[in-house]
């Protein structure tokens, strides 16, 4: 029986093809593979399944997962549970988009190119930056690339990062930086409010500093206030200012372009993408319109141009001479396949929300953050947040005064169908028994109430 995915899987057809290329056996096409290394047995893989059987099998396996639809979740820390409007799933399921390759052939790919140009353009509006590429893999690889870019632009090799950064993001930054001989320095943050210690920063910034990197909101949810000063300090030393963002905050928070960022990175997953266990993400990457920056940018960039006959507007990949398929080992990055489909999702999301929708999104998250902090801090012994600063979406919850550990609390919460905040005790031991909670527009008041009553029981009992 021919395989549904392989139209020529039929004896007669195969015979016809063999005849026309002058062979009698398919094996002749592998005659140049030394016999010694040929696989002389069948691969040990499952037997072929029909679509129905395969679907049944995988659904059986997936049933062993619990999702945040069954559990109440307060997890964030890099991937967040946001609402995805139905329009997005519909648009990205269109085969013309979904099954296309990178749009090298501009004339037949105008739709995808225009959509990506619109993604870049809307991201620029959100960030108040001039140029964005059409995606990187995720926030952390964007950061790794940004550090390398800053080094290329400035010819210096030190990057200063905040103390409170996601350990995963830091690990990626290190992996990307080490081979380029980049030295990563940490600037202190005050334990009272999490703010960057400007004196410490001034000491560390020098003529060796390629860039200072801060995140806003920070990994632990608090807002970094002195961004203008930080920008001045690094710019006075002729270095670059790199800012990392969670875009869902930008309906209320000042965009990094307004406080001097030269390069902006971030995680685009909140913009219309599902969590999928941290699966396909979206690395945001943008910079100012300076040619020394643009020329050093990694990744694909779509440009607007015209047809050669001048008759119509058109789009195509721009500045390809930066890229690996042309510049090879001198390319700005090795990136080829990127994250276009998650960028397309983000484009549809931003087009749907518009300025008012985006503001509403940020305001709802902000209001829930404060509501939750206020309610939680009423529980005896719970300290939240640890840092006395404004917060957005995420915040620290400390149990030191309750004699309970984060692990204990989270285990008890899970028994009640609740996923507590991400434990931070191994990441930042100085914070004690602390976890990182997250609320989004999807977190309902009922869910928060449920958490509060269970938490009171757990801590009181």
């Amino acid at each position: 029986m021919p395989h549904p995915y392989i139209p020529n899987d039929h004896e007669e057809t195969i015979r016809e093809i063999m005849k026309s290329i002058g062979i009698k056996d398919v094996e002749e096409l592998y005659s140049d593979v030394p016999y010694k290394i040929r696989l002389k047995r069948r691969m040990k893989l499952p037997d072929p399944h029909s679509e129905m059987e395969a679907k049944r099998e995988i659904e059986r396996m997936l049933r062993r997962n619990s999702t945040v639809k069954e559990l109440i979740s307060f997890l964030g820390a890099g991937v967040w549970n946001h609402y995805v409007p139905a329009v997005i799933d519909e648009i990205v399921s269109r085969g013309e988009f979904l099954t296309s390759y990178t749009p090298y052939q501009a004339e037949i790919s105008q739709g995808m190119l225009q959509a990506l140009f619109e993604y870049q353009s809307m991201i620029c509006e959100l960030l108040e930056m001039d140029v964005a590429n059409c995606s990187m893999y995720d926030w952390s690889s964007s950061l790794g690339e940004a550090a390398r870019m800053a080094v290329r632009v400035t010819g210096r090799r030190e990057i200063i990062i905040p103390h409170y950064i996601s350990p995963e993001r830091l690990a990626v930054l290190k992996a990307y930086s080490e081979p380029a001989g980049i030295r990563i320095l940490e600037v202190k943050q005050k334990i009272s409010d999490g703010q960057i210690d400007l004196e410490d920063l001034k000491c560390k910034v020098s003529d060796k500093t390629a860039a200072v990197y801060v995140e806003n909101p920070s990994y632990l949810g608090f807002i970094i206030e002195d961004v203008k000063d930080i920008s001045e300090i690094i710019h006075d030393a002729d270095g670059l200012f790199i800012v990392g963002v969670d875009p869902s905050s930008l309906g209320v928070l000042k965009p990094p372009g307004d406080y001097g960022a030269d390069i902006v990175v971030g995680e685009g997953q909140p913009l219309g993408n599902y969590m999928s266990m941290g699966g396909s993400l979206l690395g945001i990457f943008a910079c100012r319109s300076e040619s020394r920056l643009i020329r050093q940018m990694p990744g694909r960039i779509v440009g607007m141009t015209r047809t050669k006959d001048g008759r119509s507007r058109a789009f195509c990949l721009a500045l390809q001479t930066r890229e690996q398929h042309i510049r090879r080992h001198r390319a700005t990055s090795n990136i080829c396949t990127n994250a276009s489909m998650t960028a397309l999702r983000a484009a549809v999301y931003m087009a749907l929300l518009g300025p008012e929708g985006f503001k509403e999104l940020s305001e709802i998250i902000l209001s829930k953050t404060y509501y939750m902090i206020k309610r939680l801090s009423r529980i005896d012994g719970v300290k939240t947040p640890i840092f006395k600063s404004a917060h957005f979406k995420e915040f620290t919850v400390n149990y030191d005064q309750t004699s309970r550990s984060v692990d204990y609390v989270n285990r008890e919460l899970l028994k009640n169908g609740i996923l507590g905040g991400k434990p931070l005790n191994s990441e930042f031991p100085e914070l004690g028994e602390t976890s990182l909670f997250c609320v989004t527009e999807l977190t309902s008041l009922e869910e928060m109430d449920r958490l509060l009553s269970v938490l009171e029981d757990v801590l009181g009992g």
Binding site: T99, P179, S280, T305, T337, L419
Partner: protein, 515 residues
């Protein structure tokens, strides 16, 4: 011969169809409690950190958004639209059931930091999938973390770096060898991992020049990056010699899995002597390429390198699946979390449906299809098949239209643009660099004999046109959404326009602007 007409919407940018009065999405209203909390929050927010200016996003209704992007989709072209013989990209059919499964709530609504006991299902799938990849490639252990082929290469190159460092040779072994026919990502990845790139030429057959390789290796050799079959679609017959030369010199062998669709079940990189392998799930394992990504590029290694893999690995202790961070010499991480899990799920479904038998069949037919086209197309006037004349091709081949250019002025670029007029996506062109006027063609196993014959007819027709009425080909494409695009202007500093705001500011400043 039926010609193709692509949709030609005159579709403005989202910004240009914006109307202040419109909304595309509404969130639930905040109740009194939340409104009060918001007031308090805004009071707490330092003045200088509040966004003052409204975001300049467009205002559209939901209807507008759907029509806009639907029209844009109609001006795009995928495997679902037609033949997509883009060499080295393995644009095979993407089974719809895979997308259906990856879209289910039971994967979409999982947070990566959920306790392991709540995600045993997906961990089992990931563990099983890595063991399948190990079997398919002849490796010991796989990491599913890398987001794409190039990130897999970077991971591999970082492993090579860490391995030599561990052996006290980190400072000495600073060279990676790549053949001149290698994918551009190979030298770029090696350079990113801090290596000097040494290029070795191809021989008369388009394979690695063994003598040149012997001369290139030294005590500085960290490794070799190779794809086999190579980018000409020719199997490197002397792979065992190559492997011996590199290993004897103390280097490691890296396998670029971009071309593995040709040899599934026939021969495995592990048995050829490779130490590290990456796979492109968006090529060989049928996951959609999505207009550029996300893909997935798992990396596998032999036993002696498994302690260098990125963390965490997905492991099984006999009772439960877990994330293993205990990898002694790990290179760390190349991205957050555990990989493109949704893409992994699609590849899992594909292997389950194909089985060992189906994967081997896919390879055989992809090779049969490629050889059929290589034979038929090279018989057409103006086209030839350089290198390894008597060698069978594997999944792809590289045609040259050097003669056509010489005789008619029609180039590989012109031919590729004219193909678009017939509703066929262009091949990869001008690659590999060792072939003049190269057209790199990979039909995959997804094409029927009828579609292959049609492709041959179209090529013959284009050849005719080139000799009889070359302007038709030189001015192509004619039937796509737009005619030939001015790509040079898109990159020229004077006319470059990379965002809506750049466009507006150039217009305001009275600069010349394209668009």
């Amino acid at each position: 011969m039926g010609e193709f007409r692509q949709a030609r919407w005159v579709e403005p940018l989202v910004f240009e169809i914006s109307r202040e009065s419109k909304r595309g999405h509404r969130f639930p209203r905040m109740n009194g409690l939340l409104k009060a909390a918001l007031r308090e929050a805004l009071k707490d927010m330092p003045e200088n950190l509040r966004r003052e200016k409204r975001i300049d996003l467009p205002c559209l209704s939901e209807v507008d958004v759907v029509r806009h992007f639907t029209r844009l989709s109609q001006m795009s072209f995928g495997v679902d639209t037609g033949l997509y013989p883009l060499g080295s990209c393995t644009m095979k059919y993407n089974p719809k059931v895979n997308d259906a499964v990856a879209s289910s709530d039971s994967i979409r609504y999982i947070h990566p930091y959920q306790p392991e006991e709540t995600v045993q299902g997906i961990l089992e799938i990931m563990y099983t999938l890595s063991s399948w990849f190990a079997e398919i490639t002849g490796m010991s252990k796989f990491s599913l973390q890398p987001s794409a082929g190039a990130q897999g290469e970077l991971t591999g190159a970082l492993i090579i770096r860490a391995y030599h460092k561990r052996n006290g040779e980190g400072d000495v072994r600073d060279e990676i060898i790549v053949p001149d026919s290698a994918h551009g990502t190979n030298p770029a990845s090696a350079a990113m991992a801090g290596f000097k790139v040494i290029v070795v030429p191809s021989d008369m057959n388009g394979c690695v020049d063994i003598e040149a390789l012997k001369e290139a290796v030294s005590s500085r050799t960290a490794g070799l990056m190779l794809t086999n079959p190579n980018t000409l679609g020719i199997f490197e017959e002397r792979i065992l010699e190559i492997s011996e030369i590199i290993h004897d010199a103390g280097g490691l062998l890296y396998y670029d899995g971009a071309n593995i669709n040709a040899i599934l079940g026939k021969v495995r990189p592990g048995d050829m002597g490779f130490d590290i392998v990456h796979l492109n799930l968006h090529k060989t394992f049928s996951t959609p390429h999505g207009g550029g990504g996300p893909g997935s590029g798992p990396v596998g290694v032999k036993e002696h390198l498994k302690d260098f893999l990125p963390v965490p690995l997905v492991d099984f202790d006999g009772e439960r699946y877990y994330l293993n961070y205990d990898v002694p010499y790990s290179i760390g991480r190349v991205r957050a979390f555990y990989g493109c899990v949704d893409v992994l799920l699609k590849a899992f479904m594909y292997i389950l449906i194909m089985g060992a038998e189906g994967l081997e069949k896919a390879s055989e037919i992809s090779v049969l299809n490629a050889n059929f086209l290589a034979r038929k197309l090279s018989e057409i006037r103006g086209f030839s098949l350089p290198y390894g004349k008597d060698k069978p091709r594997k999944h792809e081949f590289v045609l040259s239209c050097s003669d056509l250019k010489h005789e008619t002025g029609v180039t590989a670029r012109n031919v590729s643009k004219r193909l678009l007029d017939y509703g066929i996506h262009a091949p990869t062109i001008y690659f590999p660099l060792i072939v003049k006027e190269a057209l790199m063609i990979e039909p995959t196993e997804s094409e029927s004999i009828e579609s292959l014959k049609e492709f041959v007819n179209v090529f013959a027709e284009i050849s005719n046109e080139a000799y009889m009425k070359p302007e038709l080909v030189l001015d192509a494409p004619h039937n796509t959404s737009v005619s030939l695009v001015d790509e040079a202007a898109a990159s020229h500093p004077k006319t470059m326009c990379l965002s809506w705001r750049m466009y507006k500011s150039k217009l305001l400043s009275g600069e010349r602007v394209k668009g």
